[in-house]
């Protein structure tokens, strides 16, 4: 029953209303990845 409640908890959390058409912001295009190390 705990597992069920936990799932229910997540289900409840997941019902947080999001604005219509919400699109997570894309990762910033630049600067790009660091291939070695940053001085």
């Amino acid at each position: 029953s705990v597992a069920r409640r936990a799932v229910a908890g997540i289900a409840q959390h997941d019902k947080v209303p999001r604005p219509v058409g919400f699109v997570p912001p894309p990762p910033p295009p630049c600067p790009g990845k660091i291939r070695h190390f940053k001085i």
Partner: protein
């Protein structure tokens, strides 16, 4: 409805990486001194459409010095990036390219390099040797002595100094000078006495090399020299033979 403008290129997009690769190849093949540089980060990219199948691309690149001298035939992919504790050197480059029918070419590039700050290295490695200026008297003395010792023991061609690539100094726990320098074979054998008459081999026979030397000044006096000749490299049309760069016709 007009087509939406294409989304701006990301710095890690394949097109950006392809442009950066062309830019780094151009920078290394048009550099005449020092070491090869490799790509560390694409800091920014801007694309300006110039009509059908033509774009101008502006790249801001962050490069890192490798341990390969610019004369080394070693492919860049096999060149080790100079480590942080070996006193790394960073290059910042702005490059303008054009892309015509998918073909990339460099129109202009401007770079400047700078060594990492000594404080950064001291924090991580208090006793690491640090870069010193190339005209430091102990550096010049170590290079001269190293080349004399090498030529004195060599059974091959007499080697002349092309340029000092880098020099580091350590003061604790011992006083040690480490130098790296580029050399070129001359038309004399090392055994020959009159070295003043020696001159670089003509372009079609040129043979460059690279030497590293470490001289312990205190507590003992010890000198280790190691030189490696690359063998004759066939000059390619877009990379001027460096002997003309290092030793212009009016030899001074």
């Amino acid at each position: 409805v007009p087509a939406a403008p294409p989304a701006p290129l990301g710095c890690d997009d394949p097109e950006s990486e392809a442009a950066a690769e062309v830019a780094v190849d151009y920078i290394n093949s048009h550099s005449h001194h020092g070491y090869k540089f490799t790509l560390n980060t694409i800091d920014n990219i801007r694309v300006l459409p110039q009509g059908p199948n033509k774009e101008i691309i502006f790249l801001e690149l962050d490069l890192l010095e490798t341990t390969c001298h610019i004369l080394s035939p070693t492919p860049l992919a096999n060149c080790t990036v100079r480590s942080f504790t070996d006193h790394a050197v960073e290059g910042d480059c702005d490059v303008k390219l054009q892309k015509v029918k998918g073909q990339l070419s460099v129109l202009a590039s401007k770079c400047h390099s700078h060594a990492d700050s000594s404080e950064d290295i001291r924090q991580l490695c208090p006793d690491c040797p640090l870069l010193v200026t190339l005209n430091d008297t102990e550096v010049l003395a170590t290079v001269t002595e190293s080349l004399n010792v090498y030529n004195g023991k060599s059974t091959g061609a007499y080697l002349k100094l092309l340029e000092i690539g880098r020099a580091k100094m350590q003061y604790h726990p011992a006083h040690v000078v480490s130098v790296e320098f580029a050399v070129a074979a001359t038309n004399c054998s090392a055994a020959e006495a009159n070295v003043e008459a020696c001159h670089l081999l003509p372009d079609d026979q040129s043979d460059f090399g690279f030497c590293t030397a470490t001289k312990v000044i205190r507590p003992s006096q010890d000198l280790q020299v190691n030189c490696q000749l690359y063998g004759h490299q066939v000059p390619t049309p877009d990379t001027p033979l460096l002997s003309r760069v290092f030793w212009p016709t009016s030899t001074t």
